[in-house]
């Protein structure tokens, strides 16, 4: 977002946009951190880590509010147009997606805490395996999406959107395996249901990463590719 924050005749405008950029990237880093820690808490059976994630979700929400306030200020004060306007709009949308991704991380952390309770039997190894695979597919997407925003890289953003198909495919495969588990042994039911929620949360994180990428494309090219077929996305700027 560098060139966006330079060169305005009214220099405070540069400052306002730079501020917005910084807050967005901080929030992105925080949410990514939350997601990674939540998954680790689950896989390592770490209740303390889970608790931290749940508490820090409040920080994510505070970023949500602050960025919105700052965006509104810029809209009122600067009446932005063209790229500046698209930047403010895109950041507003990105922040909403990050906030939801943060919520998904919290859900994962909650499940980790439940699991940690000694009274609850350990989930089958297959379940842990599936959660790990899902995380390895979805979390790098979130990391890369945030990086696309930082670099304003619309080409990579478009490529990233295609990866959401991988996440969805992985999700469906995992769901099938989990169902098989239950059918093999009905004692797996409880954990399977919970695992499905976790895997669903990770799939949703992948969706939000995809949305972030779409917002980058909008910011850079002014094209709304959120609901377009992948062939249209690859067509490039309008």
């Amino acid at each position: 977002m560098h060139e966006l924050t330079e060169g305005h005749t009214v220099r405070q405008f540069d400052g306002d946009l730079a501020n917005l950029r910084v807050m967005l990237l901080e929030m992105g880093g925080l949410v990514l951190d939350q997601a990674e820690r939540a998954v680790r808490a689950l896989l390592e059976d770490n209740a303390e880590l889970a608790r931290i994630v749940i508490e820090r979700d409040g920080e994510v929400d505070r970023y949500d509010v602050r960025v919105d306030e700052e965006s509104h200020r810029i809209l009122i004060r600067r009446q932005p147009v063209a790229t500046d306007l698209r930047a403010v709009i895109a950041v507003g949308k990105a922040v909403a997606d990050l906030e939801r991704a943060g919520d998904e991380a919290k859900k994962i952390a909650r499940y980790a805490r439940v699991l940690n309770d000694d009274a609850v039997p350990r989930p089958a190894a297959e379940i842990i395996y599936d959660v790990r695979r899902m995380a390895q597919t979805a979390l790098p997407m979130l990391r890369d999406a945030i990086e696309c925003f930082d670099a304003l890289d619309a080409d990579s953003a478009v490529a990233l959107m295609a990866r959401d198909d991988e996440v969805d495919a992985e999700f469906r495969a995992v769901m099938r395996r989990l169902l098989t588990l239950v059918m093999e042994d009905s004692r797996n039911l409880r954990h399977t249901i919970d695992a499905m929620f976790v895997v669903k949360a990770l799939e949703r994180i992948g969706d939000h990463a995809r949305n972030l990428a779409a917002h980058v494309s909008y910011l850079v090219h002014g094209r709304d590719v959120r609901h377009s077929h992948s062939a249209d996305r690859d067509a490039g700027p309008a």
Binding site: H8, V81, A82, T83, L152, A238
Partner: protein, 300 residues
């Protein structure tokens, strides 16, 4: 007529982030260099279907100074086109070509063609007084005649012989003042001098004066610059109504005003028509870097 609409649209380039590995720019290079190297291509389509006026390869020289450089654009019927650009870019100069007001400037030379109704307005046989009735103009500083409100509006119709008698003239005056949104405020004091009105009212009087001679096009050169926000809003509202009957070209310094009142926007820069397009697109996603820089306030 040449234009760049069939070429790949140039997009604003990304700056590089010093000292940090960056992925290759996903933006294409800007057109700005084209103008520097002597080629001139307007971004966007300057033509419209069934235009009311067409300017083709218009150049204006003030002595040696090349003030308008090969500008081609159409004026659409029932639409407002805004002309924006920094001071000295030529937008007012171009506007003045459309009703040959540049004729009054000794050193001005105009080349190219401007077609109104199938005829070049610079044709030697063109009656300039007639032209200026068909293509009316409203100026930045309201300039009512030192006459009554009635006579201000009646002046044009009188000299053009548009009314057979006093009754018809009264009708023209009333209709014009109504269309200009001024009738209710002045109907009981038509004999008062035009100069007794407020700034905003005077400007509306000037608009009524323009309308009274049945123009096809109304040219406006920063019509609200001298007015307060409320008067400005009233004029903008009026412009929106007027476009049902007339084509309107408005030169404005205010980007927000251009965005509010116009359907098409043309960006001028140092005498060149850089970009022209739908107002919404120009202000959300301009295709030329110079346009983007100007409207976002990065210019200079």
């Amino acid at each position: 007529m040449h234009n760049a609409s069939t070429e790949e649209a140039p997009v604003v380039p990304a700056a590089s982030k010093a000292g940090i590995d960056r992925k290759p720019s996903s933006r294409q290079p800007a057109l700005a260099s084209q103008f520097e190297h002597g080629e001139r291509h307007t971004v966007g389509d300057p033509s419209v279907d069934d235009p009311i006026m067409s300017a083709r390869e218009v150049n204006v020289y003030y002595g040696d100074k090349h003030a308008i450089r090969n500008v081609t654009l159409d004026i659409a019927r029932h639409q407002v086109i805004a002309m924006i650009g920094p001071s000295g870019c030529g937008k007012s100069t171009f506007l003045r070509c459309l009703n040959r007001m540049n004729d009054t400037i000794e050193s001005a030379k105009v080349t190219g063609t401007i077609i109104l109704d199938g005829r070049d307005i610079y044709d030697k046989r063109q009656d300039v007084v007639q032209l200026r009735a068909r293509v009316g103009m409203v100026f930045q500083k309201p300039n009512p005649f030192p006459k009554s409100i009635y006579d201000n509006v009646a002046y044009g119709p009188r000299i053009h012989g548009l009314a057979a008698d006093r009754v018809e003239l009264d009708e023209i005056v009333q209709t014009s003042l109504q269309k200009a949104g001024l009738w209710e405020e002045v109907k009981d004091r038509l004999t008062n001098p035009g100069t007794s009105l407020s700034g905003g009212q005077q400007q509306r009087l000037c608009i009524a004066r323009t309308i009274a001679v049945n123009p096809e096009v109304i040219l406006m050169d920063e019509p609200c610059s001298a007015l307060d926000p409320i008067a400005t809003a009233k004029i903008e509202d009026l412009i929106d109504e007027l476009r049902e009957s007339y084509a309107i070209c408005i030169v404005t310094h205010s980007m927000q005003q251009a965005a509010r009142v116009s359907q098409r926007t043309a960006y001028f820069h140092l005498g060149d028509l850089i970009e022209i397009g739908d107002t919404d697109m120009i202000f959300t996603n301009p295709r030329h870097k110079l346009t983007e820089d100007y409207i976002t306030g990065r210019f200079g």
